[in-house]
């Protein structure tokens, strides 16, 4: 754990000047329309929205940008920055201001012992677990859970319906997911601790992207970590394994923001977006981007306009 301490130390060291430069300052003295009572942030300078390295996250980033612009807040999007392990420190350092996140996995990033699985509990736990300077805003109706899938052929061959069945096949199957899965609770760590599952091998691929889906199709991996909103699961008849012991927590979309930037405008705009964005809508938008090759920023702009969130 020395390593983690060292990295933490470096990050804290680096973040001091960044926070000092951006935190409040003159703008916050103006009050800026009463910032919902916490932190006294200001969105006057605009927000930089970071996104992780998978398609849906970019779409969400552009949706956030549309909602913010609709509320008169300047916003820009930085697509494809990397995994959570990369973007969260960037948020803490102030390189970016706002991230579309997923409740359960975000909580586990800060507290890998967290046991909450239900959306409301997770939100409360997040408020406690997030480091000072970061804040989780109200979560969206939409949810995108991690799911562990097998092909229908594999399910039949090994009699797999749930994670419990996986334990009966310890040492026989190969697991594929993004590299970070090896060390995540929603990944190999949790499967072993909660269900006693061990695999023959682990293949580092990508986050519900072409590598992991290609490998599942080809049979290079037997069990794959995908996202529940991925249109390819249905298209390929892949079997989503059940999780009777609730290893995978609720994963509603949740905006994580630097408190210094979160004023009433930002809060209200993102809350309105969250109320309107349902799981079914998100899945539909994902399909437009991934399958129909529409640009995520245009899909987001159209959707925001249709839902009265964009600037009129």
């Amino acid at each position: 754990m020395n390593r983690r301490k060292l990295l933490g130390g470096l990050l804290v060291g680096a973040s001091v000047p960044a926070l000092a430069a951006c935190g409040g300052g003159i703008t916050s003295l103006k009050g800026d329309g009463g910032s919902g009572g916490s932190g006294g942030g200001s969105s006057a300078g605009g927000l930089v929205i970071g996104t992780a390295n998978f398609t849906e996250n970019q779409l969400l980033g552009y949706l956030y940008a549309e909602a913010l612009r609709g509320a008169g807040v300047k916003a820009s999007v930085r697509p494809n920055l990397g995994s959570r392990e990369i973007v969260i420190p960037a948020l803490q350092q102030g390189d970016i201001d706002l991230l579309p996140e997923y409740q359960g996995n975000l909580l586990l990033h800060f507290d890998d012992k967290a046991a909450q699985t239900e959306a409301g509990d997770l939100q409360n736990a997040l408020t406690v677990a997030l480091p000072s300077g970061l804040e989780a805003l109200p979560y969206a109706a939409a949810e995108d859970k991690d799911v562990f899938c097998v092909t229908s052929g594999t399910a039949r061959k090994y009699g797999l319906r749930s994670f419990t069945d996986l334990a009966a096949r310890n040492g026989e199957l190969v697991f594929g997911g993004p590299a970070e899965d090896k060390k995540r609770v929603v990944g190999l760590v949790g499967l072993k601790d909660r269900y006693g599952v061990t695999f023959k091998g682990f293949k580092a691929l990508d986050a519900s992207g072409p590598l992991v889906k290609g490998a599942l199709k080809k049979g290079d991996v037997d069990v794959a970590n995908l996202f529940s909103t991925d249109p390819d699961i249905e298209a390929n008849n892949w079997v989503v394994l059940a999780d009777p012991k609730a290893l995978i927590p609720a994963q509603h979309i949740v905006p994580v923001v630097r408190a210094a930037k979160a004023d009433a405008k930002v809060r209200k705009a993102l809350a309105r977006l969250g109320g309107a964005l349902t799981t079914r809508e998100l899945a539909r938008l994902n399909k437009l981007v991934s399958n129909d090759k529409k640009d995520p920023d245009e899909v987001a702009a159209d959707w925001a306009k249709d839902h009265g969130l964009a600037k009129r």
Partner: protein
Amino acid sequence: MTIDWGWFPDHQDDLVTLTLDHLSTAVPAVLLGLLIALPLAVIAHRVRPLRGLLLGISNVLFTIPSIAIFVLLLPVTGLTRTTAVTGLTIYTLVVLLRNTVEGLDSVPAKVREASTAMGARPLRTLLTVELPLAFPVIMAGVRVATVMAISLVSVASYIGYGGLGQLFTDGFQRNYPTPVVAGVVLSLLLALVADAVLVTVQWLCTPWLRRRA
């Protein structure tokens, strides 16, 4: 693999933005590399024992995969353009240092001695005699470094600062070859245009070489 030709006219603005983004990472890297390489090369040229050390270090740096350099810079410079620029600077430095040293070496000792004999101080000799004579070799280095920097910017797409390389990640994730083709072609064109610009600059700056030809 089919190319969606309609994509190109619809994305002119995006392509311009990404191209500018690409340049604003590559150009500072080359300039910064030059700024560091010139004094280091002079030192390496004058102080023989340091020469092997400096060239050796820069050669070793060259063998480190560029993606690793970007990642290792993350705790220092964060998820910012600075990380991309700094990483690329390290690569341009290798080429620029080597070429500048070679350029200075190519200046005949007699020429330098003549300048000194005429009463010029070492700095003046360096600026008015050695560097102009070494200019063609140094420029050859600048050309190689520039072309290399432009093609390497796309590696920074793994940390979100890849300029045109962002099109590669996008096409990869969505199984969509069109943006990837656009990115490869534009990146190539950008490198070739930059090289042509540098050739022209060199031609304009060295009238004495033209007359000889």
